[in-house]
């Protein structure tokens, strides 16, 4: 059974998975999530350590940081998204990797972000992991509700249509640029807000938190969990965050095994763990239980 601390990390993983999933649901392979995650985390670390909190911080202040981080990442994502979202497929993926690297080097070199060691002693709003579980779990539940609603909304259907055929969608009179940008901005905001929680939970923040490795891992959450419904990235994020910890007994081999999972997962489960067929089966099973 995972301990409470691991549970927080698993939930944060699920949130990041959802952040990668959002643009993908509109057919856009963006790996920008770690960049916005790093921006959110750095912002929280700066705001929390500059005000004098004597080691603790009120929940209200953390929520305010989340609002500011959300606004900042939304602005940033709009600015970056407008030119970048004209790119397709592998080009968009490479452009967003570039963004991740630029943000990482910037955080490493800016005079006020603590260089390679980063920012220490970020005050804690909770004295027990249970508080973090409630906060991040609450956010995850909220996201689950929002994603479920999204699937039947106008925007969600437009995203699915773009994923299937962007040109046809545009011909139907849908402003595809706006839909793609909405998905990109929402993904950035979710990553930024998750970064705020992570910075407080980890107590320290540095440039490594948003590196290319994170882009790989979060993408793996979606691919292995399944990219056809929002449940996929959630399950993928929870499982794959727990996996390296569960593999701790094998010591140095755990990262090799983690790599093998990423390598062989798409070969054996091309649609991920949560497939449309599985969801349909689940739906029929629920229907049967409701109507005996």
């Amino acid at each position: 059974m995972p301990d409470n601390g691991l549970l927080v990390q698993m939930i944060l993983g699920a949130l990041l998975g959802l952040s990668v999933y959002l643009p993908m649901a509109a057919g856009q392979l963006s790996l920008a999530t770690p960049a916005f995650y790093a921006v959110g985390g750095t912002l929280a670390a700066l705001m929390a350590t500059h005000a004098d909190h004597q080691g603790t911080i009120s929940l209200g202040a953390v929520l305010w940081e989340m609002v500011v981080a959300g606004a900042l990442t939304a602005a940033l994502a709009t600015l970056v998204g407008l030119p970048v979202l004209r790119l397709r497929g592998i080009y968009l993926a490479i452009a967003t990797i570039a963004l991740v690297e630029i943000v990482r080097v910037a955080i490493l070199n800016l005079p006020f972000t603590g260089g390679a060691t980063g920012i220490f002693g970020i005050p804690q709003p909770f004295h027990h992991p249970l508080g973090y579980i409630t906060l991040s779990g609450g956010l995850l539940a909220l996201c689950g509700w929002a994603f479920q609603r999204l699937e039947t909304s106008r925007l969600g259907r437009a995203m699915a249509a773009i994923r299937d055929d962007e040109l046809a969608t545009r011909c139907m009179g849908i402003n595809t640029t706006r839909v793609k940008l909405s998905a990109f901005v929402a993904s950035a905001v979710l990553a930024g807000v998750t970064g705020v929680i992570a910075a407080h939970y980890l107590n320290t923040w540095n440039a490594r938190q948003g590196s290319f490795d994170v882009a790989i891992t979060t993408l793996a959450f979606v691919i292995l969990g399944g990219s056809r419904s929002w449940l996929g990235p959630v399950i993928g994020g929870l499982l794959l965050t727990a996996l390296p910890e569960l593999l701790r007994p094998v010591g140095d081999l755990r990262l090799v095994l983690f790599g093998l999972v990423i390598l062989l997962g798409p070969v054996f489960f091309p649609q991920g763990l949560i497939t449309p067929a599985l969801l349909e089966k689940l739906g029929r099973w629920k229907l049967r239980r409701l109507k005996p």
């Binding site: 392979l29 030119p83 970048v84 004209r86 790119l87 497929g89 592998i90 080009y91 993926a93 490479i94 452009a95 990797i97 570039a98 963004l99 690297e101 630029i102 080097v105 910037a106 490493l108 070199n109 040109l167 290319f212 790989i216 993408l219 793996a220 691919i223 140095d252 081999l253 990262l255 090799v256 983690f258 790599g259 093998l260 999972v261 990423i262 390598l263 062989l264 997962g265 798409p266 070969v267 091309p270």
Partner: protein, 313 residues
Amino acid sequence: MSAALLQILLNGAASGGVYALVALGYTLIFSVLGVINFAQGALFSLGGYLTFLLMGGRIGVNGALPGWHLPVALPFWMALLLAAIGAGVVALLVERVAFAPLRRRGADPLLSLITSLGAGVVLVNLLQILMGAEGYAFPAGAAALEGLPEALLIGGARIRTVQVVLLLISAGAVAALTVWLERSRTGQAMRAVAEDPTAARLMGIHSGAIVRLAFLLSGMLAGLGGGLIGLSVSLAGPYFGISFGLKGLAVLVLGGLGSVPGAIAGGLLMGLAEALIPSAASGWRDALAFAVLFAVLVLRPSGLLGRRLQEKV
């Protein structure tokens, strides 16, 4: 031209040559398959470590077998060549495990991005288990350069001999590959597969073999780059190839995906641009490649020498 500027340009060209090697490796695979092999950076690391081991280098205290070394101590040139071949063979293995099963099934090319990343993670961490995370420096006089001075004076500019060697080897490899692609029958077959896989198969070209050849060559280029950087700088831990892999990606886009001259020009341009950054701002050097990449993608997505993309409906 002032000596100082010439010195900067020569150093820039030397590192640019290595970037071109990495980018050419991506280009070969991208042109025949339309996918990017993200294990390229790990193969770069592998090449560096293989060269070190084949030269008789000892594994450090944090490795799996501290103090162990290969019973041979080859001269640098031979070690480099064998390491490149070794990296090429591992690239074939990567193709077998990470690319071939997906291609057979006609899966989304996006998936091979993940599987090749996974292959890279496995390789780098195996290296880490074997060799430990510490850095390794090649023994002094490794490249049989004892007869030569530490640095050469070219037109008043002082440049380390190693850098000149680096430039010459990468230029030689790039030139050989270009001529081979242009002139040889197999090179023509490879270009035919890159142009139109279906038509190439109808012409009797064994496209599977061509794909494997592309992986072999691409792995060899990465391994060569890793060995050269190991000689000129050092092996800074098993992850050192990853940053070269990422920069190679930037070069690839700068030159235009799938364009051989573009990859070479892009590599040189990137090396020169990095060398021109003053040392006071050297922390930002790593961002330059990606800032350039970002700008190129936004302004001219087909790259400097790439073909314009045309979408057919």
